[in-house]
């Protein structure tokens, strides 16, 4: 379900699910928490395979973010338009750094973090 890969300054996690909905939300949240409860640096959640997120999936992602240890941050990448829309309409797009779909979020890490002021 979650595929971990290293980033230069953190951890990438690719979500291999077509939907984060009421069926998946709790297991997804628990798995994500388990992968991120230690360590430092940013965590980039690659959602490029996810085409649907409902309120329970949204709550799971926000919940996992709030469980992060100090020194860790959660960023989102690869959002499908329908997924981005749910974050935007609920205003949850304001608490995550969201990388544009298709952007190289690993290479962009150093400069962009400072430039955007969200690091």
């Amino acid at each position: 379900m979650l595929q971990v890969f290293p980033l230069r300054d953190g951890l990438g996690i690719r979500v291999n699910l077509p939907r984060i909905d009421a069926v998946e939300a709790m297991a997804f949240r628990d798995s994500l928490c388990a992968l991120t409860r230690s360590g430092t640096g940013r965590v980039v959640l690659d959602l490029s395979q996810v085409s649907f997120v409902d309120s329970s999936g949204l709550g799971a992602i926000v919940g996992a973010m709030k469980q992060l240890p100090p020194g860790r941050s959660l960023e989102l990448a690869g959002l499908h338009p329908a997924v981005e829309r749910v974050f935007r309409l609920t205003r949850m797009d304001t608490i995550f750094r969201i990388h544009p779909r298709g952007a190289d979020f690993d290479a962009a890490a150093d400069g962009d973090l400072r430039a955007s002021g969200t690091g």
């Binding site: 009421a22 069926v23 297991a27 949240r29 928490c33 388990a34 709550g59 829309r85 749910v86 609920t90």
Partner: protein
Amino acid sequence: MAAAAAGRDARRQAAEERSAADGPSGTEGKGGPAKSGPAPPPPAAGTKPAGPRHAPLACARTAAAPAAGSAAGADATNRAGTAAARGGGTAAPSPPDATAAQDIRLSFQADPLQVRGLLVAVRSALARLGTAEAELHTVELVLAEVVNNIFEHAYGGRPGGRMRLRMARARHGLQVTVTDGGRPFATGAPPAPQHMLAPRSPAEAPEGGFGWQLIHLFGRDIAYRRIGRANVLSFVIPMT
């Protein structure tokens, strides 16, 4: 003031997205004879939710774990009386006929897995009518929120409860009626719309309560009635 402005912003955004989307034309809803029977039966006594499917981890849980789909499948009927689908486990109900998307009637079991199959079926029925992607997503999202709320709250997260969904294409959008046999809203009415504000910090971000806010954002003419032992919720999802 700021709150009101922010609320208007989100609503306007939703409205703009609706008007930007192309929808099918000339598919005026046809109100067939309503086949409304008695309320669905309450869940069988002693039905217990399935346990967690994995070992609990350190992270705190904030909601009951959804139960895995059980043996009983969704049975779907449409106006033409075809498309009776039975699927247990991960099987999705087969999609209703495209023509039936103008007046779809579905009866299914309230649990997340059945809900997922239902949403996929409704989406493909509407897609065959040429409905635009953004509108497909709106319908899928609003139905997901309504139906999952019924499972979680009206039926207390216990599988086995029944729901009926009726959707009819009307001039101004999709008229949706959802009936269940679960508990009524504790306050006698659905949660009121609230302004969705950007949280001041990540720590203050809510982890729940998004569902009804999304329903209010897209749904119009939301009406709830308790009829006997049934909850009847109706609303319109505006579509072009």
